[in-house]
């Protein structure tokens, strides 16, 4: 018998055996014995309208949750700019990972930012610092105007936002000349946050916190 014949025969046997799988079987005796030992629990009575009502309720609940999440994320209270986020903003700007606009003065920076994002928070003048670049960033949908400065040859970022939009972190407070500064440190970066004239300011750089507080004290709106 050739291989082809054997294959043909094997296929035929297989097909014939498959027909046995459709043979009707009388399960009545087995059914009776099993049901005696394992009584089938009564089917749960369901009110005909219960499922649709539950489905509608679930949909409403889901929609409410989504709406609440949107409201909270877009128009909620002041956003907390945590130190990690702000350090990331600094790294992005300094390393050029985000698009920045090259400028050489605060006036030029304000013009550029306003043309790009009308109503952007205005940047203050910072004496003794060289203005290099600016950009807009946002934290929890709150706009921040950012400028890259060079102070004593060291890059420093200054972020400005409306004071009502931002929440101060619960970091140590240093008071100098009646002004409160929130001081934090992330790796080699120092971070100083304060409020001035209804604006929230955040200065970040590889400088001592005291030096950043000096710069913050010099800003002029």
């Amino acid at each position: 018998m050739s291989d082809e014949d054997q294959d043909l025969l094997a296929t035929a046997v297989s097909a014939r055996l498959a027909r046995l799988g459709n043979m009707p079987v009388d399960t009545s005796r087995v059914d009776k014995m099993v049901r005696q030992q394992i009584p089938q629990p009564p089917k749960q009575r369901r009110v005909w309208f219960a499922r649709p009502v539950r489905a509608v309720a679930a949909s409403l609940l889901l929609m409410s949750a989504i709406a609440a999440a949107i409201v909270l994320s877009t128009s909620g209270g002041p956003a907390l700019a945590d130190s990690a986020q702000m350090a990331q903003v600094y790294q992005d700007i300094v390393s050029g990972r985000v698009a920045v606009m090259q400028v050489d003065s605060i006036e030029a920076a304000n013009r550029m930012l306003n043309s790009q994002s009308p109503g952007a928070p205005s940047l203050p003048r910072v004496p003794e610092s060289h203005v290099m670049a600016c950009c807009m960033k946002s934290v929890h949908n709150k706009k921040m105007a950012c400028v890259l400065l060079k102070n004593e040859g060291v890059p420093v970022t200054l972020a400005v936002a409306s004071a009502s939009d931002m929440k101060m972190p619960t970091s140590p407070v240093v008071t100098r000349k009646g002004v409160d500064y929130r001081v934090q440190r992330v790796g080699e970066l120092s971070m100083v946050m304060t409020e001035r004239d209804g604006k929230w300011l955040c200065l970040i750089g590889q400088l001592p916190a005291e030096r950043l507080m000096d710069v913050a004290a010099q800003v002029q709106f």
Binding site: D5, L9, A12, L17, L20, V30, P39, P41
Partner: protein, 209 residues
């Protein structure tokens, strides 16, 4: 499955019972059919099927899904193995040892005599004749054919049920089909089916087991 979930089922017999009737009960006919092909006696087959169903119920909290049929066939297989061991009076013997598996004989030159249309000829055998021939096969070969050809289980799934590699399933299926042919050949000759005096016919109604 999380232990907590399993514990919950054990604490909730109604849940276990519903699960049994939802997942296992629809496959009871397959289990009984297979048991009928395994046992020569109908009462023994029903007893085996019941045993498998009760075992499935007791273990329902351990079933992780999704293939309830395969799980149930594995239980049936184990119940059958236990019976075979019990019959042999040993608890440590494998089913393979219980029945010697003869290698498929090399087909003789006249084996194919008259089998020019094997499918047509095989259809002429009654279901009972095929079942009788299946009973003559070694247990492992028979199980393989019952799973792969009769139940239409994939090679991979059959391998899981039989706890052997898929390659073994394939070779056993191949050998089994050849052996079945050899077993049916004398019947065909005896009944002169090879010369066209086929019994029944391809359209013969299947009889209920």
């Amino acid at each position: 499955m999380a232990a907590g979930t399993a514990a919950r089922w054990r604490l909730d017999p109604d849940h276990a019972t519903r699960r049994f009737y939802d997942l296992i009960w629809p496959h009871r006919a397959d289990v009984l059919r297979l048991a009928l092909f395994l046992c020569r006696d109908r009462f023994a087959a029903e007893d085996l099927a019941q045993e498998a169903l009760f075992k499935a119920f007791r273990a329902i909290d351990r079933f992780e899904g999704p293939d309830a049929k395969r799980w149930l066939l594995t239980i049936l297989r184990n119940a059958w193995t236990d019976r075979m061991r019990s019959r042999a009076g040993r608890s440590d013997v494998s089913v393979g040892e219980l029945e010697h598996e003869p290698p498929a004989r090399s087909p003789r030159s006249d084996d194919h005599e008259g089998w020019t249309h094997p499918q047509e000829l095989l259809e002429a055998f009654s279901d009972q004749q095929i079942i009788d021939a299946l009973h003559e096969l070694p247990d492992e070969i028979r199980w393989t054919l019952l799973l792969v050809d009769v139940q239409g289980v994939s090679t991979q799934e059959a391998a899981q049920v039989l706890e052997v590699p898929p390659g073994t399933v394939k070779s056993r299926a191949h050998r089994g089909r050849a052996m079945l042919h050899e077993l049916l050949l004398p019947v065909a000759r005896q009944r002169r089916m090879l010369s066209g005096n086929a019994m029944g016919g391809p359209n013969a109604e299947p009889e209920a087991l």
